[in-house]
Symmetry: none
Subunit: 124 residues, 4 copies
DNA sequence: GTGGTCTAGACCACC
DNA sequence: GTGGTCTAGACCACA
């Protein structure tokens, strides 16, 4: 299953975000070994260089670490993961607010709609 | 400028949503004439039949109307447009809540984060 | 404009009915000269022999008469035309009852629906 | 057995009406599985896409429903079928009145002729 | 096998 | 030119 990409940001950044989500959501648990760059790249349908760049960037952020001979691993530092989770949450919240603004919704209207949805969910 | 499509829903449905957004956001104002099916299809990078299907569906929903020899036009009925705007807003709110849930955020946490963002925005 | 035919009855009979309707409805007034067989056949998109047979049959019924050298003419006998009109009316009434019966409507239901329609029309 | 079509309305609409009649008349009973799109199209002598469009439209009207992998089925909702039956009956009643009007029959004359036919039928 | 979607290419009526 | 319809042929997911 090749991954899907859009043209608005570089593919390596999209790969980064996707791997980050896998880690943050627990699909890739702390300490887990990632597939080799070559294999991972093929799964994603990207060039190995692209995957390499994405992983290097993630390593710089501390979410993963690499061991020269045995591959890349998810960090065991829960605080780092938690921080990434917060960052992702903030990002998609901003995207959401942005998209609501494009529909002409003010902040107040957006908040009001969200609360209505939440109440509705509680009823279920 | 070919449009971007993903594989999760049929292209004609994505075209519909995109045109709907253009109308709801005011990029295509009420009464405005759309590009001809053939031209519009080429802009979007889809087959004219696919564009035709999308426009026919939008027409059924009342958001646009067609005149045999002169083209497709955005409805002048503001109420219809307002209803579409609400529907889109609800949809993306649900998507947002869904994506937050995938990060492990509860409804309360999501609401709290959103309010923090909104306050932050007011300060700007 | 070639005429349309179905396969349930011979084409000459369908041509007959069509010409009969033109006469009865006044599109071809009493005494009017019909187009020549050749021309009429071409208009209808049928073989001249077929048109010839249709006209011969109509002549037998008295609706038209032929003059050796100058062609076919609509009868001037209003009584004959009136009789043809009655016959056509009976035929299509029977067809109508038949089609209602195929939908499972009894005679009473059909009559009731027809009256409702007629009242509805008077209101207009 | 290819079906017959005229040029006054799109083929898909004529296919729709024909299938509707089969359902309403009971030739296709509630819950019955229709032939597959491809087979049905071949029976009717139309392109599979045309048949697909006709069935999609009928589905929208609720007269049939489709199951992705197993085919199209007549609805089990008798009320929907009854409503379609009424609509068809009204349509052909209007056609009948129209055709009588073209022969110069007034509403009263039409009603009178119909009653004569009905009485005649009862005698049989 | 099933429905559904997509593309390509053609034709039509209307103005 | 416009929308609309039709055909032919292909591909996909699903079970």
């Amino acid at each position: 299953m090749r991954w899907e990409f859009h043209n608005e940001s570089p593919i390596y950044a999209q790969v980064m975000e996707r791997v980050e989500r896998m880690i943050v959501s627990g699909a890739l648990p702390p300490g887990e070994r990632l597939p080799s760059v070559r294999v991972f790249a093929q799964e994603a349908g990207v060039n190995p260089n692209t995957m390499q760049k994405a992983l290097t960037e993630l390593e710089r952020g501390g979410l993963i670490y690499s061991q020269r001979t045995s591959g890349h691993f998810v960090t065991e530092d829960q605080a780092v993961i938690a921080r990434a989770r917060e960052a992702l949450a903030e990002m998609q919240t901003e995207r959401f607010l942005q998209s609501m603004q494009e529909l002409g919704f003010t902040s107040a209207e957006t908040a009001e709609l969200l609360h209505r949805k939440l109440e509705h969910k509680e009823e279920e």
